[in-house]
Symmetry: C2
Subunit: 777 residues, 2 copies
């Protein structure tokens, strides 16, 4: 755990130059706009420790799978998130000496991510080996409004000399992935165009054939006067640059503006790439940096208007939640149904793929509540479009009759993970994808989605479960063998409670959805049944399974069992584990982890969270009190579920601790891996901890419920929810729960089980002392 | 399955040129002498499909481990069996046209492994593209008497022309392993010396620094006259050759003799390598090919005298058993305690490492009975010398107090396998190593071994088991979680019956051995206890475990359960599995294999085989009848155990089927993988099937028992056993069991529970009809 980021409500601030933490800061201050993004690498040359990374959404490379021991069914290729053309580069020479913070004496260094306005800022004073001192200030953003555009303002002031400044502004496509399995470079050059003002580099990926055109231009000012400089073009393999030189005067600012446009063949025909890149670049250039930056601030203000959560009296918590929301909204904007939420967003290349079960199990709720319904819908459509590949994936594993197994990790619908215990066994992902259909429809009441897309996907998933279980003669129940649950610290177990519960629910929900669609959209139903050769007899088997599923439990303890035989393990609590042995995934061998009772992330509790209305509060409490002390939270997805359940159980201190852990996971580098990139998807869990945990928000049968309470450490908090065309602000303070309908759409909701109706623009204040059975006390 | 090897009692015969089967034949006809060996590659250039392989015992390379997903505790390096200098090469040009069977018209081709005399022979007629026809006959062997020496006789006769013959006799060290993880070459050149008569090439391995010096010389005869030829030296990186030319006359034989000596730094100081190689080469050369070949035949005759098994009336069975014995004796001679029995011997590079649990569980019995006691003892000492590394290996996995976990695969004592489900979980290997101590002492009565080596190893293993189990509260028994049993088609299971039984036995046997050594070798005991900090209290815990171990069983079926919950699986029999889905390890995904009830190899039955005297015949029968129909035998180590138990149960037809499967596994390419090399270690299982199965041989408390019977398909069979300084021949025919003491040492033994004493050179004939309760009927 680290604690070097300065607390601030709206900014991520690194003060002082800390080369040993540079890769962490590069991750934390990453910028992105859903289309492109990059780590907070320096513009100028840096020979110290750095992970260079610039990424384009949806552009991937199928790197040949690397494995020690091949198993049938492994994918041949692993879709890697690609490091793409570096457009930020500005090399600087002062009287022939290159600026490089690794070899200079650096002072007054700061790197700041301004989340309110959506830009990255850096400033420092560097004393070169010659003794010359310069002050540098840079600002950079990728435009939230114009997805192709990025812009940099780079200011240099000589402090103790006058002399010659040389600059080289470049586009470098000769980059590689650190995680390339065979040290291969993934890009090939297609085209290069250079004038003295504009550079334009077109590359394409091997195998996948994605084209990327990057165009850049620049202008230089001294104080407020634009300079007209001679430029010299340098052209190398996959590399273009413009070299210039000018005179610096002591204490006078020289400002370089660099603009870039990045256009890919995902959006534009290959033949038009160069012209589109150049024209969008030209428009942005004409607009100018300051104007673009103002537009950026306005665009982010609009995003914050809906998504912001305000926390009063706890600046670290405030910083944490905004950081999470900011990164989520940088990663996914919901405008392109071919995209999804990569686990590292635009902040690193690790893990590859863009889509995990995280999307459905954690992220969907955030986008449902804070964005237009189409954003969440696009996440669902994304999976629907992969249905055929999921059916093929299941076929590879021996399933028939149109059964689908969605991949554990994917970019294009094909599986690209290859640990058998995960790829083949962590099948609960199928359930999360079905559950997302339910969540979306429950939230939006867009029931036509079921007829158009949802049911087809549900049937394919139901067919999978029906084949994946078998009937146990000794138990006289349906059992599911050889699975890995959400808790990946157990492999190849039998009857994971979570997976069994979810599978049975899928079967029931599919049956219910069939009834609904058959009745309300008979023609669509008939067409679908024909298309997928569906026969009503299948349902009988499904119901037999769901009614006779085996659920391991211990009656004496009054708990569900994470898996069959869990109590046979040696029962030790995390509290009794020496700190020196944690995290166990770094200190213990795998077999020891598997044998232990320690839980990586919420598993049984994840199931209780999903289906909480089935269980009385005592059952939930017993399970929480049993499993939580055995959970090491070595997955970023774990603390949020615990926080929400702790809130429900009135365990406020535990809920708050778990909240802090999820919200500052990356900021404080809890798991010692922030340098690889951020944990984007788990950030949605932080949002859930506040809104579903402290806010107690639930949607039941299309109705909105809240049971808010204020954590002791806070003076107040507020958030907004978009629901059925209304936007409601919920504010919680020590005395009041305020609800404000910010739209003209009347809205009904429940606070602590009591129904209220908020008329257009109405504000309602509820005295917390008057709420019976609340958990404020 | 293939069936192209011609049946013959003493030879492996390939007739007709079959390029598509070449790699299989290269494996089958491999030659070796325990020190070096090679695949039956052609001497001349061959541009068709081939796996080139020449190997030196104990010379390995630690190839950097390749893995998809790293787990703590994985070894950094994997010890690879190294392809070494190719000394057999003789390039042939006829009037400038190179001989290459892939581009010639080949007739009258045969490749024969002469097992009786220990050499490889090949002959063919090749019609070159020019239309010129030559007849070639080559013979080759590596000397069983002089471990450094190999020799070739290569005869060429022009059939339809006279013309120019050019030859290039080479040493090629610029070779690589096909299984190199990073396409790296493992050898570096150290020294090259060339005269017009002798070439001498010294290489060393990277990292491990093994030196290998290969010296070669030659002579050429036409008809019976030695030629004095001009030679031209060619020297390249890691390559030396001598080029010569001469005139061929139609229908006149030209004979090239090539001799090589291979010496490694394992046996000789680096400084002496060249001189030792040259002098042993010189001696062999002076002896001459025909004389060396005669010596080879004599040496093999001596080996066969003890090891041969004669089968009458079933030529395929006869060929099979001799092939197995021959390959075992080619692989391991027991003269070097640093060596072990590689799973592919000198026949391929696959699997790496040299030592698996196969050695103790399958091979030891063969060497105990057919070789001097020191041969088997060396196999035990080998493990003893690795004890410290096994303790370190266990420490890496979190064990303390001198507990040892021997590696799954090793060359130098370090683990070099890296699938967690095998490396970390397939811990029954520890039990096999302890059991080998028991078997050796039981057979040889060399009880001092226990005091000198055995006990220290047993205590380290007992300490491992004591930590590896834990007490289950629900079961009130000791349980062992997270293991993989011999049946590798189950991973991460709880309470594998075999492993639990073996672990408890280890604890008891260690206790018993402590008592024995303490009483009989008190000083040695005291020294040992001091050395390993052993306290008698440890024993109490061990006995508590062994007395309260959990053994899964099903009372109704009267069987032991392979693991907890086995009956919960869907119960299908192999007979009901479509042939198109077999072998399941090639047709099914891993999760499906794991979920199925199908068994890769004997598991529960392996335990019953080990401890058969504990169980009544009905229990054994019930388990056999339950498990055998569920076993797919996709490990080469499976059929032999089934064959032995079937013999015990009087299931003669089953025993014979299983015998055939193990004995001709490679000859008939059952598993479609002979081309990678032979399954050397499982060949010992074939021997066991005959001697322990059909012969019913057992050693109980140092006494020898037989319950022989004759398979219906045979007219008779006989084998020899070395026991307590006597050699006994056992002959079984339709009417008689004949026992012959071939030594002057009196020997006592039991036939069908009846005790007989055989005086010096005595022969005893027992009429099978007079044996009560025999299974001849």
């Amino acid at each position: 755990m680290k604690d070097y980021i300065k607390a601030d409500e709206w900014k991520i601030i690194e003060e002082g130059f800390k080369p040993e933490l540079n890769k962490i800061s590069e991750s934390l201050c990453s910028i992105g706009n859903g289309h492109q993004g990059q780590r907070a690498n320096f513009e100028e040359t840096y020979s110290g420790e750095t992970l260079q990374g610039s990424y384009m959404a949806g552009v991937y490379y199928p790197d040949k799978t690397r494995v020690g021991w091949w198993k049938n069914g492994y994918p041949e290729y692993f879709a890697k998130v690609l490091n793409a053309t570096n457009w930020i580069g500005i090399k600087i020479w002062i009287d022939g000496e290159e600026l490089d913070l690794a070899t200079s004496k650096v002072s007054q260094f700061s790197r700041i991510l301004n989340m309110q306005e959506g830009f990255l800022e850096r400033s420092f004073v560097a004393k070169l080996n010659s003794g010359k001192e310069i002050k540098v200030k840079s600002q950079r953003f990728v435009s939230a409004k114009r997805k192709e555009i990025g812009a940099i303002k780079y200011q240099i002031t000589p402090l103790n000399f006058s002399g010659k400044l040389e600059t080289e502004l470049f586009l470098d496509g000769d980059i590689k992935n650190e995680d390339a399995n065979y040290d291969e470079k993934f890009w090939e050059e297609v085209d290069k165009q250079a004038t003295n003002e504009v550079l334009c580099l077109t590359l394409k990926t091997k195998k996948t054939g994605f084209y990327l055109t990057t165009a850049t231009t620049f202008e230089v000012f001294q104080e407020d006067a634009a300079l007209s400089l001679e430029t010299h073009i340098i052209s190398k393999e996959k590399y273009l640059s413009l070299k210039t030189q000018t005179e610096l005067k002591q204490n006078e600012k020289t400002t370089i503006y660099k603009f870039a446009s990045q256009v890919t063949s995902r959006d534009v025909e290959n033949a038009d790439l160069v012209s589109v890149a150049k024209s969008s670049l030209q428009t942005a250039f004409a607009e100018g940096f300051e104007s673009l930056k103002k537009e950026q601030a306005e665009t982010w203000a609009e995003k914050w208007k809906h998504a912001d959560i305000v926390i009063e009296g706890d600046i670290k918590a405030q910083q944490g939640i905004r950081f999470n929301i900011f990164q989520l909204d940088q990663t996914y904007t919901g405008t392109d149904e071919r995209l999804n939420i990569g686990p590292k967003g635009f902040t690193g290349e690790k893990y590859g793929g863009s889509t995990y079960w995280d999307t459905e199990a954690y992220c969907l709720a955030f986008y449902l509540a804070t964005a237009e319904p189409k954003v969440a819908k696009n996440l669902l459509v994304y999976r629907y479009k992969h249905l055929q590949k999921a059916i093929e994936n299941a076929q590879k594993l021996g399933f028939t009759n149109g059964a689908a197994l969605f991949p554990m990790v994917t970019m294009n619908g094909e599986e690209c993970h290859n640990e058998w215990e995960i790829t083949f066994e962590e099948i609960h992902r199928n359930g999360a994808i079905a559950r997302a259909v339910f969540d979306y429809v429950n939230y939006t009441q867009d029931k036509e989605y079921l007829a158009d897309f949802g049911l087809e996907l549900l049937i394919a998933i139901a067919r999978f479960w029906a084949q994946r279980v078998h009937f146990s003669q000794p138990k006289q129940k349906y059992v599911m063998h050889g699975v890995t649950g959400p808790n990946e610290y157990e492999n190849n177990i039998n009857n994971n409670w979570y997976t069994n519960v979810l599978a049975a629910w899928c079967l029931d929900y599919t049956k219910e959805t069939i009834d609904f669609v058959e009745k309300n959209y008979p023609q669509k139903y008939e067409n679908l049944a024909l298309k997928i050769d569906f026969k009503a007899e299948e349902i009988k088997k499904w119901l037999d399974i769901s009614q006779n599923m085996y659920y391991p439990a211990d009656e004496k303890l009054g708990i569900f069992l994470q898996q069959e035989g869990y109590l046979d393990k040696e029962q030790i609590l995390v509290a009794d584990l020496p700190q020196s042995e944690r995290p166990i995934n770094q200190k213990w061998s795998w077999d020891r982890i598997l044998r232990s009772c320690f839980i990586k992330q919420a598993d049984t509790l994840q199931g209780i969270y999903l289906f909480e209305d089935r269980y009385d509060i005592e059952t939930i409490r017993k399970n929480f009190e049993f499993y939580e002390p055995r959970t090491v939270h070595e997955s970023s997805l774990s603390p949020c579920v615990h926080s929400i359940l702790a809130s429900k159980l009135g365990m406020k201190e535990k809920a708050y601790q778990m909240y802090l852990r999820t919200s500052r996971l990356d900021l404080d580098d809890y798991n010692n891996d922030t340098e690889d990139g951020l944990h984007i998807t788990s950030m949605a869990g932080t949002w859930m901890s506040v809104v579903q945990g402290f806010g107690g928000m639930r949607v039941r049968n299309g109705e909105l419920y809240f049971t808010p309470y204020l954590p002791q450490q806070w003076k107040g908090f507020s958030f907004r929810i978009g629901f059925k065309n209304a936007w409601i602000q919920i504010k919680v303070s020590t005395e009041l729960i305020s609800l404000k309908n910010e739209t003209t759409q009347e809205i009904s909701l429940f606070i602590y089980q009591k129904n209220y109706t908020l008329k257009a623009n109405q504000e309602l204040k509820i005295d917390v002392k008057k709420i019976e059975d609340n958990i404020f006390a």
